[in-house]
């Protein structure tokens, strides 16, 4: 999928933006605080209908404005264009349209526009809490399957209902609680089984990319530690990926019901549901040991990038369509070797959107085909038609940067 055109209205500090973008590489150059990150956030918004940075909708609207809008035109692999629009009012519900038709469920967006995003906090993916990585797994599966996303939203809804009920403990009837437990099992089991069944493939991809980026750096493994399924829970190998079998779902359901039963006393004490797919944790192991505990900063950074690249590959395998890649100030955190590895991978057919404050990033990519560069200043974009040495030197002066040494 290729983004062709983007139009933003009152999105954070971007009052009015209209761009035809390159199907290959787009660089947004500017000092910090000018709107580069906001622009990438807007580009990622319509992939699942929410801020990829996890911000609330109301925060996305320009100060003092009643609404914000994002309009994208995305071409699919056959070259057919789809219009995606989000209208976000300051009060009231956002409205999302696909080709002018209002969508009732965010899951309807899946498959139209997928992005893989790298941001300066990327190392958190390996270093941060296991919940962080569970969300990554959910995000990956949601981008590849509207059904997964829809079940996830329904599961979260049922979970919120049950948790609210637990807050009024002990004035809770057992029969009412039982009803919500059943709903959790119904929506949660497909999530549990689906995660288990893709984990192996995601692990293969991550390990392969990791070893390309860090030869002899050891082997990466992914471990899902479930509050519901036992470690030895196996899903019969299904090379054609025909989806979870009823038998797997039933077995997961048995485990889930028992886990909920066992957690009954505990959850009444804590006032929230303690077991289920929302509590499962994804661990990364390097050389058989917890990366988060024993890994070096460099290893964690490489593993984070490998996971994201694996996400892109996984989405390509599942949907036959390459996600666009959003890079927010990513290269500045990387050493030469990893930058090369990342850029080599990016040389594939991904459409790139790069936000950077460094002139050197433009210099480094100047020879790449299909490059377009914009300067971002105070929420306004100006395309740089001239990226000759002389012009870049002038810009370097303006941005107050020294040339990279070495």
């Amino acid at each position: 999928m290729i983004l062709e055109r983007v139009k933003l209205t009152n999105f954070r500090n971007l009052e009015q933006i209209e761009l035809d973008v390159s199907p290959r590489i787009n660089i947004f150059l500017g000092r910090n605080g000018q709107g580069k990150t906001n622009l990438l956030e807007a580009l990622g918004y319509l992939s699942l209908g929410r801020s990829p940075r996890g911000c609330r909708d109301q925060e996305l609207i320009q100060f003092d404005e009643a609404f914000g809008r994002i309009d994208l035109v995305v071409g699919d692999r056959h070259g057919d264009a789809t219009r995606l629009e989000a209208a976000i009012p300051r009060d009231g519900k956002k409205r999302i349209r696909i080709d002018g038709q209002v969508v009732e469920r965010l899951s309807d967006l899946v498959g139209h526009w997928s992005v893989v995003r790298f941001d300066p906090d990327e190392v958190e993916l390996a270093k941060g809490s296991p919940e962080h990585r569970r969300r990554f797994l959910d995000h990956t599966l949601s981008l590849s399957s509207a059904e997964y996303f829809r079940r996830l939203l329904d599961y979260r809804r049922a979970l919120a209902q049950k948790n609210r009920l637990l807050k009024s403990w002990p004035r809770v009837s057992a029969s009412e609680l039982e009803v919500w437990n059943q709903e959790l099992v119904k929506w949660g089991c497909p999530l549990l089984v689906e995660r288990q069944s893709v984990l192996g493939r995601l692990e293969e991809l991550t390990a392969r990319i990791y070893s390309e980026m860090a030869p002899e750096g050891g082997t990466i493994e992914l471990r899902l530690r479930s509050t519901v399924l036992p470690p030895q829970f196996e899903i019969p190998a299904d090379p054609e990926a025909l989806g979870p079998t009823q038998e797997s779902l039933d077995r997961a359901g048995d485990h889930f019901r028992i886990a909920l039963e066992d957690a009954r006393m505990e959850e009444s004490r804590f006032g929230h549901c303690r077991v289920g797919p929302h509590r499962d944790r994804l661990e990364l192991l390097l050389r058989g040991r917890s990366l988060r505990r024993y890994g070096s900063q460099g290893e964690m950074r490489t593993a984070s990038i490998a996971l994201k690249l694996a996400q892109g590959e996984f989405l390509f395998e599942r949907t036959q369509s390459r996600p666009a890649v959003l890079l927010d100030d990513t290269f500045s955190e990387l050493d030469r070797e990893r930058t090369d590895a990342l850029q080599t991978w990016l040389h594939q057919e991904h459409q790139l959107f790069i936000a950077t404050a460094r002139i050197d990033d433009v210099v480094g990519m100047r020879e790449w085909p299909g490059l377009r560069v914009w300067q971002v200043e105070g929420g306004r974009l100006t395309e740089l038609d001239d990226i000759s040495d002389a012009r870049l030197e002038v810009l370097r002066e303006e941005l107050g940067q020294e040339e990279a040494r070495g």
Binding site: A146, R151, R164, S173, E176, E178, V179, W180, W187
Partner: protein, 203 residues
């Protein structure tokens, strides 16, 4: 920061009250208020009269919770309706949707909402006690649960099913599946899965 006003606190108050109505945002409320202002006195009187008239004479049916002008609604009073079939719906408006389709000859029971702890709606807030009472006293043979297929609708259906657990009573649910005239292309997998599991032999 004070809210912008229209220069008349009377008009502001009307807009505020209109804005509390379901489905009406602040902009629509202002549009309606300004429309009323421009309307003839007679038109506005008619509207106010109609609102008052409804408040005075329309009330919930004492048996089913539907809309009635006397003790019982017209459906509950109709002797031709099948007493053996009882259709459970969330809102009174659901009865009218089903009546419009003219597919159901039995009677209704309106719950007045769906279970939703997030909105503070618990079993005691729904007309569930009277449902159990009706089933015990009215020779009901089949309960048709006609609730939406949302998380809350499913949970409420399950709750009713468990509450009414009785071998002599038939409890059914409306089928979920492909809309009539709908294209298979546009049916999502979750719905398709339901449609498959609920498939029926031809003929």
């Amino acid at each position: 920061m004070s809210r912008p006003t229209y220069g008349s606190h009377r008009l502001d108050r009307l807009i505020k009250l209109l804005g509390r109505l379901p489905g009406i945002g602040s902009k629509s409320a202002a549009r309606i208020a300004l429309h009323l202002l421009a309307d003839s006195d007679q038109g506005v009187q008619e509207l106010m009269g109609a609102v008052q008239d409804v408040k005075d004479h329309v009330r919930p049916c004492e048996r089913c919770g539907g809309i009635a002008e006397s003790e019982l609604c017209s459906i509950c009073e109709d002797p031709r309706r099948d007493r053996g079939e009882l259709c459970v719906v969330a809102q009174a408006t659901d009865c009218f949707n089903i009546e419009r389709a003219a597919v159901f000859q039995g009677r209704y029971h309106v719950l007045g909402g769906l279970l939703s702890p997030l909105d503070g709606i618990q079993p005691a807030d729904l007309n569930l006690g009277s449902l159990a009472h009706r089933i015990a006293s009215e020779d009901v043979e089949e309960v048709v649960i006609a609730l939406s297929a949302s998380v809350e609708g499913e949970a409420t259906a399950l709750y009713i099913q468990r509450m009414l657990d009785d071998d002599r009573l038939r409890i059914t649910r409306l089928a979920t599946g492909i809309p009539v005239g709908g294209h298979l292309d546009f049916v999502d997998d979750v719905t398709l899965e339901r449609a498959f599991s609920g498939r029926r032999p031809l003929g």
